[in-house]
Subunit: 109 residues, 2 copies
DNA sequence: CCCATACATCGTAATATTACGATTGATTTA
DNA sequence: TAAATCAATCGTAATATTACGATGTATGGG
């Protein structure tokens, strides 16, 4: 056992869970927030900004790129990362849809 | 190694990541969506609804209760679960805050 | 009191994630 | 071309998650 049984869930449920998983780490939150805050591409100051090893950060960046949230373009000797607007918007919408589905009605429990 | 280095992140980042982690599994998404859809408390039809063992579902419910999203009250021989409106609202707000922080500006990369 | 039902918890196996040092690959500069 | 720089990848250790059978615990009915 040990592996998530994706087969028994709907594609939408699996996809949403995967989206959330991609964000569910403080380092990845920090990376995204840094990108949001700096309002521009980041070309390699992430390692000094966060307190993690270069290999670890590269791994987190890879995950964020894998789900499409980040784009990386080569910029001379370093690499320029930035948020993919479209994907970010899709994430935002999906989360909203999920949370908005429940309307509190007070009482019951 | 292997453990997340929470010390190096802000409490807000750790908290947000923990929230996302609690939701980052299709079974927990399915449980919440079922509760949302049924518009009432659920008293034990979850095991037949999802295709997971009773112990596994109980474990997922425990996680959702741990972060406060679910309340469980004893209802005779079974247990009645429902969403905690307040906590749900907090989650919703936090997610919105996170996603709204980024405003696309087109170009750059 | 005894049994059935409904959950929770324990123990454990399989798998996934996180982190880092070491190495590799690409590109710029001397 | 050689050295330097930056990031990706590899290999691996530590830890966390997922899933389930077995067992424990409480409640209601007989």
């Amino acid at each position: 056992m040990g592996a998530t049984k994706s087969e028994i869930f709907t594609p939408a449920q699996n996809e949403l869970a995967a989206m959330l998983k991609a964000l569910a780490h403080p380092a990845r939150i920090a990376i995204l927030q840094y990108l949001v805050k700096s309002r521009t591409c980041i070309c390699g100051d992430l390692v000094s900004e966060l307190g993690l090893a270069q290999a670890t950060i590269s791994q987190h960046l890879k995950e964020l790129k894998a789900v499409g949230l980040l784009k990386g373009t080569v910029e001379g000797t370093s690499i320029c990362y930035c948020i993919d607007e479209k994907v970010w918007g899709r994430y935002k919408k999906r989360m909203e849809q999920f949370f908005v589905a429940y309307e509190p009605k007070g009482g019951c429990c």
